[in-house]
Every structure is written in structure tokens, then in C-alpha cells.
């Protein structure tokens, strides 16, 4: 992924507004990977991702004259893309789970570990299988929480970046994230109750597949590497 320089973006925006199609194509080229990476967490399948990203770029183009350089072009674009994906969910009636609790009712962060222990995923668990589990669990998490969780855990954005992207305060990000983790944990244990039991000893009645969900270390190291890489990109961007 090419490091994104805000000054270059500002120049390309100005050229696009002056009527340069090539400048807009360059802008799209510079940001398309980031948007493809982001939107895959919101919709399924390459075709759908492509549609949403294209629609987001077209919306951005039509509103380009309203873009102000208060926030970075990248953040502005990501906000449009996320909202486009969420709008798509609503249009299709696949509206995300609505939360009944007030997401801003803070009262201090929750303790996501309070519901009991959770083992790490088994090393032998295939990555495709783990992805499937993650997706099915995330679908159970109300959208308002899932949104911050995805931005934090997958896109590895800082609290500040998430706050800018969602146009909320850092405190709100923190409290939503805490609740999101609790909900994720609840949903995971609800879908895979064997994870509870495994901690209190092996269950002979457990199906074989369940054993594969057992103990071991997860993909945390891989994500750590990505986090460091992204951090480098962000540092470069802020320069």
C-alpha cells in the first residue's frame, strides 16, 4: 500500500475540481486499497465490496467541493464508505441488530472479562474456519458496537482516528468498544458454549470439531505485525 501524503491529496482534489479526470483517477488509486480493506468487514463478497467502494468514490466526487481539509481526505473518504455500506444494509432490510441499550450510557467502561474466561482459539483451527466463526459472532453484535470493534481490531485505528471517522468523542469510542467486546464475548460463548466447558475440563460428549476450538495461541502475532505496519503508515501520514 502506498503511503498517503495529505498534501498530495489536497493538490489532487484541487485538480479534480478544476476538471481533471486523471487527477481523480489518481486519487481513487491512492485510496482504493484502504477502502477495499475497510469495506470487506461490512459486506460479503468481492462484487459487493466493489459496488460499495465505487459508490463511495462517486459520492465523494459529487461532494468534493464540500470537502474541507479539517479532517484528512482519507478519513473523510472512509466515513463516506462506511456510511454507504451501512445504508446498503438498511436498504436491503438487512438492518443490523438494533441496540436496546443506550450506547452512550457509559458509567465507566465495562469489564469485558467479567463473564468468565475465554480460551484462545486452537492453533489447528483453519483460518477460513476462524474467519467464519468471527463473522457469525460479529453478526450477533449490534451494529453500533460492531462498527467500533471492526475499526479497532481489524483496521487497527487508534481511538482518536475512530472518533474522527465516526464523528463521536473519544470517550464514546472507549465505552462503545468496551461494550462491543462484552457483546462479542457473550455472542461467542452463546454460539460455542463448549468454550465455557473446555475451561472446566474436557467434555467426553463434545464433538470432535469442538476440540479443535480448544486451547492454543491465536493469530494475535500476525495482527501485531499489521498493527506496527499501519502505525508506520499513520506516522508517515501525520508528517
Amino acid at each position: 500500500m502506498t503511503p498517503i501524503a495529505p498534501k498530495e491529496d489536497a493538490r489532487l482534489v484541487a485538480e479534480t475540481l478544476a476538471g481533471s479526470e486523471a487527477a481523480f483517477a489518481t486519487l481513487v488509486e491512492r485510496h482504493q486499497d484502504r477502502l477495499f480493506g475497510l469495506i470487506r468487514h461490512y459486506v460479503r463478497g468481492q462484487a459487493e465490496v466493489e459496488d460499495v467502494v465505487q459508490e463511495a468514490f462517486l459520492k465523494a466526487f459529487s461532494k468534493l467541493n464540500t470537502y474541507q481539509s479539517r479532517s484528512s481526505f482519507s478519513t473523510w473518504l472512509q466515513r463516506i464508505a462506511v456510511n454507504t455500506a451501512l445504508d446498503l444494509h438498511k436498504r436491503r432490510g438487512r438492518s443490523p441488530v438494533q441496540t436496546v441499550e443506550d450506547p452512550e450510557a457509559t458509567g465507566g467502561p465495562l469489564d469485558p472479562t467479567a463473564q468468565g474466561s475465554l480460551p484462545p482459539p486452537d492453533k489447528g483451527l483453519e483460518s477460513a474456519e476462524l474467519r467464519e466463526i468471527t463473522q457469525s459472532v460479529l453478526e450477533k453484535v449490534p451494529e453500533v458496537f460492531r462498527n467500533v470493534l471492526v475499526l479497532r481490531e481489524f483496521e487497527e485505528l487508534s481511538y482518536l482516528e475512530i472518533a474522527e471517522l465516526l464523528d463521536v468523542s473519544i470517550g464514546t469510542v472507549e465505552s462503545r468498544l468496551s461494550r462491543a467486546r462484552s457483546r462479542f464475548r457473550e455472542a461467542l460463548l452463546e454460539l460455542h458454549p463448549e468454550l465455557h466447558r473446555e475451561l472446566s475440563g474436557p467434555n467426553p460428549a463434545a464433538p470432535r470439531k469442538r476440540r479443535r476450538l480448544g486451547s492454543g495461541k491465536g493469530p494475535a502475532k500476525a495482527t501485531k505485525a499489521k498493527r506496527n505496519k499501519n502505525k508506520g503508515l499513520r506516522d508517515e501520514e501525520s508528517k
Binding site: 479526470e21 489518481t26 461532494k63 454507504t84 483460518s127 481490531e153 462479542f184 461467542l188
Partner: protein, 175 residues
């Protein structure tokens, strides 16, 4: 100079900050003493381990690369007016704000319901008016006023004629 924070045995304070620590969002001035507490406290270390375990369950979905020529295609669409077309039917200013846009505009629906309700109310009021008119007319025709007065006077023990005259006088007397 600020005093270094010592979490000591305050597990409660540590746990309130544990997620921020886990997300690498704590300033060094808080992260360092918290780390010190974690070295001594197995319970809090366990809580941190839980958060790490949970992160292990979050595997991002498969990445897709933009197809070749995607950028040029989008730019061509944008400059051919598709950008504005995409904007018109669905795009709302709120897509640029924090919260997602509403799915559809409620105004036509609200106006439709309001006009149907207004027509219904009008029909109902006309129907009630006609019905009230019929009832009132029937009552007036059924019993002429002098008859009623005569009956009243009879009940009071006076002659009907006197009562009739008296009421007529009362009626024509100027106020």
C-alpha cells in the same frame, strides 16, 4: 514535577484502565506503573490475558484487491455524470456526517396519511351534521311549543288558555 502514579494494590483502578492499556492507548506515565502492577498481580494479569485471548478470536474476513482499471473506470463514471446520478436518489448529506442516512424519505408517506385522514374527518363531520339536523328537526316537529306549555300548566293546575295567553304576553313584552 508530577508524582509517579503507584497503583499499588488497587486492582479496581488497574482494571478500569486495562482495555486502554491493551489497546496501547495509555500514556507512558500511566502505562509504566500499570505494567508494574501487572508484574505483581496475577489476577489482573489474567484479565489482560483474557483480552488477548479474545483478540485471537477476531479474524478479519478475506481481503480483496481492487480489480485492474478500477480507478480509471470510477473516474470515467464520475466525469460522465454517474457521480451526480449516484448522489441523487440515495445520497444524503448525513453520509458525510457521523451517522448513516435514513433509508427513505418519510415526507411523502406522512403527507399521504395526513390527506387521507383529513378526507375521512371531513366525510365524518358531514355525516354527523346531517344526522344531527334530522334529529333536531324531528324533535321540533313532534311537539309544538304551546302544547308543551299547556301540558306544563295542566300539571301546575292552571287553565290551558290562561297559560297560553300568559306565555304569549310574555313573549311579546319588550325587554
Amino acid at each position: 514535577m508530577t508524582q509517579p502514579i503507584d497503583f499499588g494494590s488497587s486492582c479496581e483502578a488497574v482494571r478500569a484502565l486495562l482495555e486502554r492499556y491493551h489497546d496501547d492507548e495509555l500514556p507512558q506515565s500511566l502505562a509504566a506503573p500499570l505494567r508494574g502492577h501487572l508484574l505483581d498481580c496475577g489476577d489482573c494479569r489474567g484479565r489482560l490475558g483474557e483480552l488477548q485471548n479474545q483478540r485471537g478470536w477476531m479474524a478479519p474476513s478475506e481481503a480483496f484487491a481492487a480489480p485492474a482499471g478500477f480507478a480509471q473506470n470510477v473516474a470515467r463514471l464520475a466525469f460522465s455524470g454517474a457521480g451526480a446520478a449516484a448522489d441523487e436518489p440515495e445520497f444524503d448529506e448525513s453520509s458525510l456526517e457521523g451517522e448513516p442516512a435514513p433509508v427513505f424519505d418519510l415526507m411523502p408517506f406522512v403527507l399521504g396519511v395526513a390527506s387521507v385522514a383529513a378526507a375521512g374527518l371531513l366525510a365524518l363531520s358531514i355525516a354527523l351534521g346531517l344526522s344531527a339536523h334530522r334529529t333536531g328537526g324531528a324533535e321540533l316537529l313532534a311537539e309544538p311549543l304551546p302544547e308543551v306549555l299547556r301540558e306544563l300548566e295542566t300539571l301546575n293546575g292552571a287553565a290551558p288558555e290562561e297559560a297560553d295567553e300568559a306565555t304569549t304576553e310574555q313573549r311579546i313584552q319588550p325587554r
